[in-house]
Symmetry: C2
Subunit: 197 residues, 2 copies
């Protein structure tokens, strides 16, 4: 492969393969360059450091995992339905990643732990999406919340056991679907408008 056609996306795909093959502790930029048949300078032209490359790989993985959320956000459904769908999509995407390819998932858990800025932005983005659903719902009187931003954080934290990778080992236990449904019921009751009393 010549450097002329090397794209960032090709590097990220190769980096993912290398991370998976050698493990996050051993994988180097030289391994990535070798896999692509280019010099390590060619990789550094796209990503100025090993850390930058690993963060970009992590970011890409997170973006891929959550692409499905965009569909839910743009759906023309009542806010309570949209919030439940969004929570199911988030936990479903995370579970799929964890159960379909546990080895790659474990690799990413290591990356995620070292890329706290990437994760902080990612979490802020997710909470922002929940806030948007709640604020829209409040405006349409489909949901009630005195402080949509605080409510969005509460919803995100409330569903931790179903989307935070540290809980992945419990995601195949029997009854988890029922537990998730009960939790969504509780959250949506908490956000349901009340008649004026």
């Amino acid at each position: 492969m010549t450097d002329g056609i090397l794209t960032s996306d090709q590097i990220l795909a190769a980096a993912q393969d290398v991370l998976r093959r050698y493990g996050p502790a051993k994988a180097t930029v030289v391994d990535v360059a070798r896999a692509l048949g280019v010099s390590h300078g060619s990789v550094y032209r796209h990503f100025p450091s090993k850390t930058a490359l690993r963060e970009a790989v992590t970011q890409r993985w997170l973006d891929e995992s959550h692409a499905v959320l965009a569909d839910v956000m743009s759906a023309d459904t009542p806010a309570d339905v949209r919030l439940r769908d969004w929570l199911a999509a988030l936990s479903g995407a995370k579970r799929k990643k964890a159960l379909d390819d546990p080895e790659l998932f474990a690799t990413y858990m290591v990356l995620v732990n070292e890329a706290s800025a990437v994760i902080d932005r990612h979490v802020a983005d997710l909470i922002g999406q929940i806030e948007q659903i709640i604020a829209t719902g409040v405006a349409r009187e489909e949901l009630a919340a005195t402080d949509p931003a605080a409510a969005a954080r509460a919803v995100f934290h409330a569903t931790t056991a179903f989307h935070n990778p540290v809980h992945a080992s419990g995601w195949s236990r029997p009854g988890i679907e029922d537990d998730f449904a009960s939790l969504c019921d509780l959250i949506l009751l908490g956000l349901k408008p009340r008649r004026r009393e």
Copy 2:
């Protein structure tokens, strides 16, 4: 020390010290016996195996951590107040354990991971206490829940980020008190009785 006065509680206290000093990977029953100045046979008379001893130490630690919950359970407060107090007491007890003595806490995280039956019973007991608060509240019309058992599981899962030790590293971050309060607000709104519509 003579065997005649050796109690299970003395053994458990010594085992905790030994686990802390040598780490869970290295600590042995012989170390515990030596610390007490008795034969290892004396320890085995109380605990038939190393596993039984470690499980008993774990159980004692969990019981101690949650002794404060009994006070909340027996308080004569409205169910919504009692539920919030109970959740605050649980997360407060866990945070105190984690922040006051991180080394001992880390030791117990290892024990907890190997004692899944102890943990399962412990979690079932906690969910049982929440269910009791909710069921009492429903009977007094202070709370509403069509299925108190399912609601109790939902409340337990909803507060995972604030009581599950895997999240201990986040328990000293700024804003956690506000996040916990917002989450309790959401949960209690979800359980608040509605006027018949």
